[in-house]
């Protein structure tokens, strides 16, 4: 009798992205699969590269502050603060302590809104949309507060070289306290939903694991590193702004669960506990904020520009963004207005590499949950590559604008005709 040879199904390669409904921003994954299991993962960022560093090296430092702020919509303060701190060190401009405290308060408010947005997105990826709506609903409170303090919900434009551009008045301190009380109440609810819910726990436990050894070697930052047991938090390690005056410690998941597994659940734990930490930091800053102190060390922009033009040297400015460390390397040359060198290291830049070990060995269905768990920030796009048939065309902002106007006119014509 002839035996039928059953050929073992071989693996296949599939692409995930760059534009995928589960991702908020474009990034492409190429996956080698065996059934539903991911054997090998690779990723290709750069679908949204805008050449910001190139632009920055052709503008003066005051312009770069606002350009840096626009690297990311969520981390509005992060990049401006890091860039300003680097420039301040080169030009030896010391902001007043009051300015340092205001910077810290705004930065922590930003962390609250960023972590809440992330919690919402992660809940959405888990298919838990009621938690998504809740997170976004409670996030409105801090956005309104930020608008009241700075005039804007995103891109606060509050940081300037040598200090801050807006004060926080005693009346505003009362508003902040009101908002913090709201988050004290909400915090309990968020803990019960995100940390105690059985379905979230079952789905996220031991999913997307990053071991402490790999976390050390692949150099991730922020909650991604801390969830794998790396004690690394710029606010604690590196004294800056008002953080050096506060008694804070890096939040590791074992504070809540008693163990470190480095999975998606641990990343949720770290971020939820950091909400509480941020509330505490803001309260402490308001209580300790020095009454005296100029907002800007050099208020006249002309004088500031002249001082920056004469400055010579290199420095590194850092800040612990909600997603982890952001670092700006700046080199200024005397006599030149634009920075000679400017390198921006965003937090997701360090976290990308951690995706690969997290994805390998996991299921296709867990990709969105794992990808979102590091809170990636891929930034908005300036051009779109379109593949139609067998040719690729590159659409610029001009083309997109023209297409949208044409479409609008077509719709208007159809409406008036019909």
């Amino acid at each position: 009798m002839k035996t039928l040879e059953v050929k073992k199904p071989s693996g296949y390669t599939s692409q995930f992205g760059p534009a995928h409904p589960a991702f908020k921003e474009p990034v492409m994954f190429t996956l080698e699969l065996e059934g539903e299991r991911i054997l090998k993962a690779d990723f290709a960022p750069g679908q949204a590269h805008r050449g910001i560093e190139w632009m920055g090296m052709r503008r003066n430092c005051l312009q770069v502050v606002f350009l840096a702020e626009r690297i990311c919509g969520l981390c509005g303060i992060t990049h401006a603060l890091s860039f300003c701190r680097a420039v301040e060190q080169i030009a030896q401009i010391q902001p007043s302590n009051r300015a340092h405290y205001i910077r810290t308060i705004i930065a922590e408010l930003e962390r609250i809104h960023s972590h809440l947005l992330w919690a919402g997105v992660e809940a959405h990826q888990l298919g838990f949309d009621s938690a998504f709506y809740l997170a976004l609903k409670v996030r409105e409170n801090v956005l309104d507060l930020l608008e009241a303090l700075t005039g804007s919900r995103v891109h606060y434009s509050v940081i300037q070289i040598g200090g801050v551009r807006r004060d926080i008045t005693p009346e505003q301190c009362a508003d902040i306290e009101k908002s913090l009380q709201f988050y004290d109440e909400t915090y309990e609810k968020l803990v019960s939903i995100f940390l105690e819910d059985t379905s979230i726990k079952m789905r996220c436990r031991d999913t997307g694991v990053l071991t402490p050894e790999l976390a050390l070697k692949l150099c991730p930052v922020g909650p991604t590193a801390r969830a794998s047991g790396i004690r690394k938090d710029v606010r604690v390690d590196h004294p800056y702004a008002a953080y050096a005056d506060l008694d804070i410690h890096p939040i590791l998941p074992d504070e809540y669960t008693g163990e470190i597994r480095g999975d998606v659940y641990d990343r949720i734990v770290v971020r939820i506990l950091e909400l509480k930490q941020s509330i505490g930091i803001i309260r402490e800053c308001i209580a300790k904020m020095p009454e005296e102190g100029d907002l800007l060390a050099i208020p006249k922009l002309g004088v500031l520009l002249a001082k920056l033009k004469a400055a010579d040297g290199e420095a590194v400015g850092r800040h612990e963004a909600p997603r982890g460390e952001v670092m700006h390397y700046v080199r200024l040359t005397a006599g030149e207005e634009a920075p000679t060198a400017w390198k921006v290291k965003a937090s997701s830049y360090s976290n990308y590499m951690a995706w690969i070990p997290m994805l390998e060995g996991d299921q296709i269905a867990d990709i969105p949950v794992i990808v979102a768990s590091i809170d990636p920030c891929i930034s908005c796009t300036d051009r779109v590559a379109m593949v139609r048939g067998d040719h690729t065309e590159l659409l610029t902002k001009d083309d997109l604008h023209r297409l949208s106007v044409e479409r609008m006119r077509r719709i208007q014509a159809e409406l008036s005709a019909g």
Partner: protein, 199 residues
């Protein structure tokens, strides 16, 4: 753990770099009411001394590679390795910056990914953005630049291999009538609307 001071670290780097050592300096910067200082050590060394210096840092405390920064100084390209050690110990972290200057005629640097795998992202980026050849890189593909980006154009270089003017998109110029246009963008103005302006 015995924590070395920045000056001691600079001395250790000098010893590890051997003949390739060029210069070292320590800087401090304080912020906040308590005035605690953050510490930085800046070391200039040759290409041959880079790996021994990093190996020495690994023996002291496994460093976190933040990024490899860069500067185009005309005849040379500086590669600036930013590494942190002593993180996790409150306020004790030290930033070690290793600067290697490469002549533009010989832009080669050994990889450090076998010592610290996390440096791969940054090494791939230096290859495509600056035209550096990282010798021994385990994955030399492009990372951020698109596949159809021309060969031999390196966005961060400030010489003739940088971005040529015809590649600059000037996105602020929309091509609409009555608004300023730029020299390089050839978008024709839109045809006048037949029925009212879109809102």
């Amino acid at each position: 753990m015995n924590i070395l001071t920045p000056q001691e670290l600079a001395d250790v780097m000098k010893e590890a770099a051997g003949d390739g050592f060029q210069s070292a300096r320590c800087t401090e910067w304080a912020e906040g009411v308590k005035g605690l200082t953050s510490k930085q050590v800046w070391v200039n060394l040759s290409r041959e001394s880079l790996r021994p210096a990093i190996q020495r840092l690994i023996d002291i405390h496994y460093p976190h590679v933040a990024v490899i920064a860069f500067a185009d100084t005309g005849e040379q390209v500086d590669l600036i390795y930013h590494l942190y050690i002593y993180y996790g110990i409150p306020h004790e972290e030290v930033l070690i910056t290793l600067t290697v200057s490469l002549d533009k005629t010989d832009l080669k640097i050994p990889t450090i990914t076998d010592l610290i795998p996390g440096a791969l992202t940054s090494e791939r980026e230096k290859q495509e953005m600056l035209g550096i050849e990282v010798v021994g890189i385990p994955d030399g593909r492009r990372l951020f630049l698109p596949e159809d980006f021309p060969e031999g154009v390196y966005p961060w270089r400030k010489d003739e291999s940088g971005i040529p003017s015809d590649m600059i998109k000037e996105l602020w110029a929309t091509g609409r009538e009555g608004l300023p246009t730029c020299a390089t963008c050839e978008a024709p103005p839109l045809a006048p609307a037949s029925q009212g302006e879109p809102s």
